[in-house]
Amino acid sequence: MNASIRFSQVSVSYGPKAALRDVTLEIPEKQIFGIIGPANSGKTTLLKCINRTIDFVPSARVTGEVLVRGQNVFRVGRKQRWVALANLGKRGAWRTRAFLGRVLRKAGPAAPPDSRSPDPIRSVYDLRRRVGMVFPLPVGLPLSVYENVAYAPRRAGIHDRHELDALVEKCLRQAMLWDEVKDRLDMLGTRLSGGQQQRLTLARALSHRPQILCLDEFSIAIDPVTTMKIEDILLELKEQMTIVVATNLVHQARRLADRTAFFSDSRLIEVDDTETLFTRPANRLTERFVNGEFG
C-alpha cells in the first residue's frame, strides 16, 4: 500500500490562531480517505496544504512537510534547476564511461542512471493540476458551461475541438450534470442553480485529470439524491485516483471511506480503518463524536 500523501509534523497557524497542530498522517493511494470533525477543527486547512492553496492566505504560516507522491509540496519547483543540472552531470559521466568502455573494449556501466522519480511534479501549477479541489460553496466561473469545464484543459494546452468535446462530456457525465445541461452548454455557468453549480465545480475538478481528488463538504449545497449519485461516482473513481473527503456528516464518511481520520480542535485525534474507527474507537472523544454526542 503506497502512501499518496504524507503529512509529517505539519502545523499551520493564521496569525495567532493555530489551525493545525503537529499533524502526522498518511493517506494511502487509490482509496477514499475520510476526514471528520466538528467545525473549525482544521479539515479545510489540511486540504489546502495538499495543493498549496494555503499560499493564498497571507497570514498563514506553515511548518512541517507535506509529501505528495514523495515530493515536498512546499519545495516543488524550487530547486528543479539544480536537480536537472545534477542529472545532466550524472548522465554525462555515464556517457563518458560508456564511450571509454567501447574504446578500451571493456564492459561499460550497465544502464543509464535514472535518479529522477518517474513523472516528477514540476511546479506548483503542475501540483494543482494533479489535485482536484471541490469546496463547499459552489463557484461557477463567469463563462459558459462548456468553457467552465474546458478551462483547465485549455490552460494545459489542449486545443483540439474533438478532444475537448469528449473530455467535457466525460467530466460532466461523471459529475451527474450532463443530462441537465447537454442542450445548453452555451449558457453561463453562473446561471445554473446552486446544486448544479456544485456539480459543475466537481466536473471542473475532474477536467484536469487529477491523481488526487479532494472534496471539502461537497454535499452542503446539493440535494440528497444527487449526493448519493455522486457518492456512487466517487466509489467508482477510487480505482483511478486517491480521494480525500472532508465532511461533518459522520455517516457520509462511514458510507464512503476506507480509512477515516478524526480531527478536533486542530489536532489529529485518531486515524484508523473506517470500520474500526466507528465501532471500536480508541479515543473517548472519537467515540462521542461518531455517536453524535457532541460536535
Partner: protein, 331 residues
Amino acid sequence: MSGPPEQRTAAACSLLPGELDLQEGQAVPLAPRDIFTASSLERWKKVKETIAKLVFMAMTMALVLPVLCVFGYLVVKAWPVLSVSFLLENPREKMTAGGIWAPLVGTFSLVFLSLVVCAPVGILAGIYLNEYARDNWMTRIINLAVMNLAGVPSIVHALFGVGAFVLFAGMGRSLLAASCTLAVMSLPVIITATREALNAVPRAFREACWNMGATRWQTIRTIVLPNSISGMLTGVIFEVARAAGETAPILFTGAVFFTPVPDHGWSSFFPYRLGDRCMALSMHLFTLATQVRDVPEETLYGTAVVLFGLVLAVNSLSIGLRAYLRSRKKW
C-alpha cells in the same frame, strides 16, 4: 407578546380555548380584519419609512438642481453666439470676435495625449497592486503615495510640471509638457478606479482558477480582465472629463494666451505639434474673463457652455457605458 401561540389564535377569532366544538365538515369563518389589521407600531413604522424616503429623495434632487440651473443659465446667456461657426472659427480681433476652434482643438489634443501617457501606466500599476503585490510595507508605502498624489492641489502639480517636464526634461513649455503634467495628475485616479474595478470581481473566481493550476496571469487574462474592463474604462473616461476642465496644471506648462492655428482644411484638425504651445478651453475662458477688455458677454458664456457640455457629454457617455455593461453582467 405573551402566551403560547394557540391562545393568541383563539383570541383572534374570539374563541376561548376548549370552546371549539365542531362536527366533521364544519368550518370556522375567520374575519381577515382580525388578523391583518395594522397595529399602531406598524403604522408608525410606515410613517418613518415614508419620512426617510422623502428626505433621501430631497437630497438627491438638491444634487441635480444646481447642475440644471447652471447649464440652463449658461445656455440662455450664450444663446446668441451658439452656432457651428462659433465652434469652427478662430478667435479674432483680440479675442473679442470669432469662435473657439483653437482652444477646442487644444483641449482635445491635451486630453488625448495625457490619456496616452497615463492610461497604460495607471491601469498596469493598478493591476499589479491589486493582483500581484503582497501586503507588505512596500505595498503600503505605494498605496500611501497614490493616495497622497490624489490629494495634491492641482497648482502644485503645475509647479512640479514646470520643474520636471519643462525645465529638467527639457520639453520647454509645450503641448507635451502640459499633457505629461495632466497625466501625472490623473494617475492616482486611474489607479484607484482600476483597483476598484478589479476588486468587484469576486475572489472566489480567482481561487477556483488557481485551484485548477492556472497561473496568476492566466487567471487575470481569462477571468478577471474580461469582467472588470468595463469598470476601468468608466474610470478612465471620468478622468478624461476632469482633465479637460483643469486650468492650473497647464497654466505654466504649455497653455498660451493666444496662438493662431489653421481653421480651414485638413491641417486644422491637427494644428499643434508636440513642441508647440497650445490654447485650451479652460485657459481661454480664464483669460477672456480676466485679461481681455470689451469681450462680448455671449462669447464668454458660449465658451463656458462648450466646456461644460463637453464634460457633461463625456460623463454621460461613461455612465451610459457602465449601465450597458452592467446589464450584461455575468453573475
